[in-house]
Symmetry: C2
Subunit: 329 residues, 2 copies
Amino acid sequence: MARAWSLHSRPEGMPKHTDFAMIDVAPAALGDGEVRIANRWLSVDPYMRGRMNDVKSYVPPFALGEPMQGGAVGEVIESRADAVPVGTWVQHMGGWRDEAVMPAAQVQRLPDLGVDPQAFLGQLGMPGMTAYFGLLAVAEAKAGDTVFVSAAAGAVGSTVVQIAKAKDMTVIGSAGGADKCDWVRSLGADAVIDYKAGEPLVKALAAAAPKGIDVYFDNVGGDHLDAALAHARPNARFAICGMIDVYNSGEPTKLRYLARLIGNRVRMQGFIVSDHMARAAEFYDDMGAMLKAGTLKREETVHDGLEAMPDAFLGLFTGGNKGKMLVRL
Amino acid sequence: MARAWSLHSRPEGMPKHTDFAMIDVAPAALGDGEVRIANRWLSVDPYMRGRMNDVKSYVPPFALGEPMQGGAVGEVIESRADAVPVGTWVQHMGGWRDEAVMPAAQVQRLPDLGVDPQAFLGQLGMPGMTAYFGLLAVAEAKAGDTVFVSAAAGAVGSTVVQIAKAKDMTVIGSAGGADKCDWVRSLGADAVIDYKAGEPLVKALAAAAPKGIDVYFDNVGGDHLDAALAHARPNARFAICGMIDVYNSGEPTKLRYLARLIGNRVRMQGFIVSDHMARAAEFYDDMGAMLKAGTLKREETVHDGLEAMPDAFLGLFTGGNKGKMLVRL
């Protein structure tokens, strides 16, 4: 019997283990054009928190009592689609479960880039594309720019740091705790701010970027965003990718430096990665080459077994991951 | 003896009359290339509040005890510059005084558009250019868009309403009090929100723009900005022109809907009008034609006499003006 995680109740604030329930999924015969996939790697990502609320957004909310969705990589074990035969490794959105039945049109065969399959849930997947297009397309960052990135030890942030360094930018990252900060420094960041060290971010960023910043890549919101506003240089560009600070708290964001937008002609641009899917080939070319050349370091925090999915997910909000958070089946 | 207003003390919060002092200016002989101007109209504008703080910004702070600067229109009464003879009407930044001595290179001859000279401090001046380029260039508003503009009874906002209507947009304006709201409606606004009526702006905007907004022209910040974020449609563009709500209070802005930026790919762009000066000819052509044709209605709130400058300026922050606030000498 296949098993899947379902949302048992809609969380108020920080989700709890009791908001999730494992359910059995009755075995389904394949329809024409469908494949059965044994999932090998499951992804947990901060954006999933939004789908737990009953609010219309760019992705629909999870239905209570139904299998949840999310990024997954696995191997086709049964096929009624000629284009995707048994043995093919694919990525798809039928995650949070050990086995998925999907129309072949909704799975992507993993490109042959000579990297581990789980990389397609990280640097070669949604988080990597988010970092790549957020930095280069949305924020239009270019060589010589000073870039500030929050949650720089996360899956997206750590990739932003490395792409920025590979493209000759100056990079300041923030992360929580000495261990993560050391790691972000080892990725090439020119300066690292430990946001748990107690110094106000506005002061810490002033020291790290005495001439201000040209680009801010926001994964956090709140005080991080405010500090970036305080130190934005003229014509700075902010790519607003996530606001993990408010996903659970529901508290309003307090910005003391918002009016700086005006005099400094700052652009804040919210984005979601799927808008950039049409440029996936360019992304695989550039990022695949950097990964194979060793320019990009991959780091994963791995939990084992389907049972661990809620632990892995909740860990995203308590700083439990370095690099990409994954569950291995 | 010429007279000028000087800043006597840097205001904390809302400026007081005692922050201003009238000073005598000793008569200066003209240098080569200079002109003496008898000012006829003086401008007061919200951005001047920022220059009263001792903070580096896109315009330098006012020096204590020195004549303040600001937009002015006047007549040349003495000239040592061939290009600008006696009798020429000009606009320049030597305001807050009855007589100005300026290098001819720093004054602009009023273009002959067949309108009253004080229009060059309003719809044909800085506020008009702010409205025009903020709406059309920064926010890229186009026919069919739904536009929300705050402080819609102000010099900039009332011009935004009218340009937007002239270019076939749907317009929602906010203003304080029934009288101003009636006036904004008379300018062609499709819906008007009285922000003093007690209904939360988020609710009022939901009713006025049930399908959401494509463009927000922000003169106010604070709750207005938050309401605009709550109702932004996908790919909405916000032109951030002013935040009169925070100029005096110094309080942080609380935004409950900021994370909506992400899913809706909202762009917030701060701007200052001087970046668009290179396109002044296009502006005079288009706006001059609309003014002459009567497509744009001009409204002025006029104070008389140099003594009235602080009253006029302070009135900007207490809702004392419909249209452009001016002082006539």
